[in-house]
Symmetry: D3
């Protein structure tokens, strides 16, 4: 079972790190600054980090970016968001984005299932 997990979320995080290393090998200043900004915008402010992660999740979900969705689901889990909160956020994404987001919804809930059952 641990192995199964390694095939999806854990493996995704490893691949992501390896690929980010390649990005940093080639990145000029604008790409580096964009990466830094992408971290900064999710930091606690007037909105708590957990709400910001839900916003990042839904923004990625409606644009059907599977990798972005997986990353934000991992962060939502770390921030202690409940299954019901994540499901409600994805339901908004589904109604806003329509049935073309259904395949992304399937993959998102499979990833969440591993995160909470893992």
């Amino acid at each position: 079972m641990a192995k199964k997990k390694e095939n999806s979320i854990e493996r995704f995080m490893k691949d992501r790190e390896e690929l980010n290393a390649i990005v940093m090998k080639y990145a000029g200043l604008p790409i580096k600054r964009f990466y830094s900004l992408d971290t900064q915008v999710f930091r606690k402010g007037a909105l708590p980090t957990s709400t910001k992660e839900l916003l990042g999740l839904v923004a990625s979900f409606v644009q059907r970016c599977d990798d972005c969705v997986k990353y934000h689901l991992g962060r939502c889990h770390e921030e202690g968001l409940s299954t019901k909160e994540v499901e409600e956020a994805l339901a908004i994404g589904l109604i806003v984005g329509g049935s073309i987001t259904v395949p992304a919804l399937r993959r998102a809930l499979k990833a969440w299932d591993e995160l909470v059952d893992g």
Copy 2:
């Protein structure tokens, strides 16, 4: 100044109602059910209505749907969200969606400006 306001958010809400009446004149059951579902998904659940409205705002914003953004900004204002909370949500939308969302950001903050100054 009241007149100026009528030219944007207030006028938008009036036009929206008129056009929705035309939609309902033609709508079969699936369109009617979709409208109802679109209301239902934003109701208070595990997440408060205010968070759901921010999610609807950002989901619309990254897809650059000006009318959807205006509508959700109006709802965010009604739910008592602060300027800082709305700005932080839009900043996430900007980083996720990139510079092609900048024109939508300009129009969103102009609409918000009227809502809070109105």
Copy 3:
């Protein structure tokens, strides 16, 4: 009332022609060939023209291209498609494309309303 019509569909068709003249002033061979291909692909084949126009309508609608939608609605009207057929096609577009297509749906049904009442 004739005047009211002139403000939307009729006016749209005039503006479209004027702007297409500007496109042709500047267009090299690839743009000209694309325009020709865009006409050719909607010609009667195994599928009748009316079905092809519905396909063009829905393909444009889910991508929220108001001008494309107006154009195909005009063609659907010329091909004698019924209000119910057009409404069912748009309902599919709404479910596939989600609530961000609602503003496009409003404008589409307003344009159709003028076409059938005109």
Copy 4:
């Protein structure tokens, strides 16, 4: 050869079912209602089911949703649509959606090839 088939369309349908089971494990009322609406909108009405499936196909295709395209191709095959009809629908999708849909076109015609040769 039967095995080869199992690797694509048949396998896709099995994976889809497994993932839909996970969706239903977590789905609240709005997601369940959306699924139901998504079935309802493709039922025979003024337009025959076969035309509705072509509309679903093209709407998914221009948004490059491979899983949606595969599903609708399977349905088009069940509804007895001919290769020429499906090809003409995809050609409209290609002209409307441009060369970024070419990879989706390749995968769609490979899936269709298996369906008709299977």
Copy 5:
């Protein structure tokens, strides 16, 4: 005729400045940094500024962001790009993005027409 021009490109630039002032009234650090990065990425590097502006033009064009397209056309004009160079870049955008970019193409070439005839 000068007045006519004021109604499109010149007016667009004025409106843009006014709206950017509203953005800056509300912007927190991430939005400000994004604006700065958006300027920085178009500066001369291994690629000349003129090529970078064509890249910004086409990236905006395929996503049908009229305001972004107008802005980059203005910059292309300032950088001394020829009509033929701009037309060839837009032709690539048209083939990549498909017929749903045609309305954006019409508006782009109208704007260019004013810039070169102005």
Copy 6:
């Protein structure tokens, strides 16, 4: 190591050819003409081929079409574009398209890494 290469860019090019053969098996005249137009628009004109390939790269990148990006990276490499030129083009794509293009950026730079190290 040569084998590793075969698993990505080289393999991609082989798969692409095989799938294009299936497309041509089914393609009617409009699809064939579109393919031909897609070749024609990238030919040397007022703009050199290398600039056109960068435009194709960025247009594909902002729409997150991985296969299109890989193809244009291969062509950029053949045209002798430098790593710095390609990186600057992708940086523009990242700022225009936002963080949802980051996964496409990772895959693009991994593909480029193989092309230049191969």
